[in-house]
């Protein structure tokens, strides 16, 4: 089994199946994010090279929360995200989500109702083998369950990923 960690650079060939961590989607959307240009390049390359782009419900949840936080902060600094805010922002979140789903090659995980138990089992293996936070473990679990070739992220913690079985897997960092 081989875990490779590499920095994304323009023109680099991407795996045919790539999981996008939530932070990549956020960096892609937020123009003054430190990694915005790199994220636009990566997502653009993934979409245009006909990658299977894996986006989990977990990632969508994180994107929604982050956007609500950003919009909320612009109105009232240090305001926490509430249910009322989510309802208020529903039209904007719906539009963003539809756009994500309209990108060529996007597949939303889990794909089947019975995938959830399998994903949990993978995450349990990762839990005892890797030193990673729970949310990161679940992102990795989604990617590995789908047999993705790699995971794109801005997070250094994925370098600690201990693969549960024999496969090649790339962590592509922005």
């Amino acid at each position: 089994m081989t875990l490779s960690v590499r920095q994304f650079v323009t023109g680099q060939a991407l795996p045919p199946c790539l999981y996008l961590d939530a932070n990549v989607l956020i960096a892609f959307i937020v123009r003054n994010h430190q990694k915005n240009i790199a994220a636009i390049q990566l997502v653009g390359e993934a979409v245009s090279s006909q990658c299977e782009i894996l986006v989990s419900l977990l990632a969508l949840d994180e994107v929604w929360h982050s956007l609500a936080e950003i919009w909320g902060q612009s109105e009232t600094p240090r305001k926490k995200v509430t249910g009322a805010m989510m309802k208020q922002y529903a039209p904007r979140l719906t539009a963003k989500t539809r756009d994500i789903l309209d990108l060529d090659g996007v597949i939303v995980l889990p794909g089947r109702a019975d995938d959830g138990r399998d994903i949990v089992n993978i995450v349990l293996k990762l839990l005892s083998a890797s030193e990673m936070r729970s949310r990161d473990l679940f992102h990795a679990g989604y990617a590995l369950h789908r047999i993705a070739g790699g995971l794109a992220t801005t997070d250094d913690d994925f370098e600690k990923l201990a693969l549960p079985d024999a496969r090649d897997f790339a962590v592509i960092k922005l």
Partner: protein, 173 residues
């Protein structure tokens, strides 16, 4: 230490790697983008060593391609790096290391020197950054389906972080 404007560029690259880089550590907090030889370079990655080779190649590739358009300044105040046209002036009095050279390059975002001046980070991207993002987005127009490109262009760089708190929060998200 300062290097005259006529110093050959390979001296500058050497300076980045042998003199400047060892002092960087992980303390670079703000991002800069520079356009060299048609390549966008993340200056924070340059500073942390990740893109030194990319930067060096781009710097070399840019030589002789155009009339020098600006002066590149690279310096350090404490553990904070600055790079850009104004960086030299901002840092020259306090820097431990400053390199300058006349090169054809364009500074896209110059957040670090905002720190050097002791003022908050820019809340909004510069005009140059917006143009660059838009140009990059546009470069994908004919590489994906029309529907996907519409979604892609609506999403990319469509939101902005507000104040300093959120910028700090999302810097390493």
């Amino acid at each position: 230490m300062s290097v005259a404007a006529t110093t050959p560029v390979d001296r500058i690259v050497t300076g980045f790697m042998s003199a400047a880089y060892p002092d960087v550590g992980t303390s670079l907090d703000y991002s800069s983008w520079i356009l060299l030889g048609g390549e966008l370079i993340d200056a924070s990655n340059v500073m942390t060593g990740l893109n030194v080779e990319v930067f060096s190649d781009a710097l070399t590739a840019s030589l002789g391609s155009a009339t020098p358009t600006a002066t590149l300044g690279v310096g350090v105040v404490g553990n904070y790096w600055s790079l850009g046209v104004d960086a030299f002036n901002a840092l020259s009095e306090n820097s431990t290391t400053v390199y300058t050279a006349s090169l054809p390059f364009q500074v896209i975002v110059k957040a670090p020197q905002a720190y050097a001046y002791g003022v908050p980070l820019m809340d909004k991207p510069t005009v140059e950054e917006s143009v660059t993002a838009r140009q990059l987005i546009e470069s994908f127009r004919n590489r994906m389906s029309p529907k996907a490109f519409e979604a892609f262009s609506r999403l990319a760089a469509s939101e902005s972080l507000g104040g300093m708190g959120l910028q700090r929060h999302y810097r390493h998200l």
